[in-house]
Symmetry: C2
Subunit: 139 residues, 2 copies
């Protein structure tokens, strides 16, 4: 069982996003426990964040889903099955938090909304686990 | 006013996705009219598709959102304000349809679900228009 904390700024406003996130959290629940840490602003995010964290950064490393699965499983193994993820606010992530991150990962060179970033992150975590277990979800 | 047709396989099952797509279609409606062409399978997709189309292909060209905005506006201008988008099924896109496409565009080296691809596509179309108009949506 892995544990993931996702640090981000702001609340969940959209009903559709709440439903979508709940669906993926349920799918993940047998393998990964997900906890959300919602900060009010950049300063609070910096105070709350705990090592080790992966920074979701548009200028980070681009990988495909198979490489991501290997990378995440390796990081889980190195860090006692616990990993934190950091999604920045609209101004991006503080350079200091980028520097201290265990990995700077880019979902895409495209800019996504923070809402969609949350959803894509959960789906990729689920896909990573399914790839590792050899299921038919990823083909 | 631009017109976009999105060709894809399957129905919309998830309620959350219907809500999310409806939200972005509403935001887009003043600038881009969106029409969905849902095919039952790959063969029907090949029969229905009309030129010019942009193929969403994980091995296509990666661009950032600003470059995407310029590219799309140029393609709209070249093709009488009409563009079609092709999202393949779980087996990807037929090589012939890739070959005949006006552009092979990759949202990310990561594999996304077809559901999320639909949502990301609409959000990026909206972002492209907002970037072009110089609004505060993309900063």
């Amino acid at each position: 069982m892995f544990k993931v904390k996702i640090y981000t700024i702001g609340r969940l406003k959209e009903t559709w996003l709440q439903e979508a996130l709940a669906e993926y959290e349920k799918r993940l629940s047998r393998q990964i426990g997900v906890e959300w840490v919602l900060a009010k602003n950049e300063r609070e995010l910096t105070e709350k964040i705990q090592s080790p964290w992966i920074a979701l950064d548009v200028r980070g490393e681009l990988v495909d889903s198979v490489a991501l699965s290997k990378k995440l499983l390796k990081l889980f193994s190195h860090h006692g099955s616990r990993l934190n993820f950091l999604i920045g606010g609209s101004e991006g992530i503080d350079p200091l938090l980028l520097e201290k991150s265990a990995w700077r990962w880019s979902l895409s060179p495209l800019t996504f909304t923070h809402q969609m970033t949350r959803l894509i992150l959960l789906e990729q975590l689920y896909r990573a686990i399914e790839i590792d277990s050899g299921s038919a979800y990823h083909k």
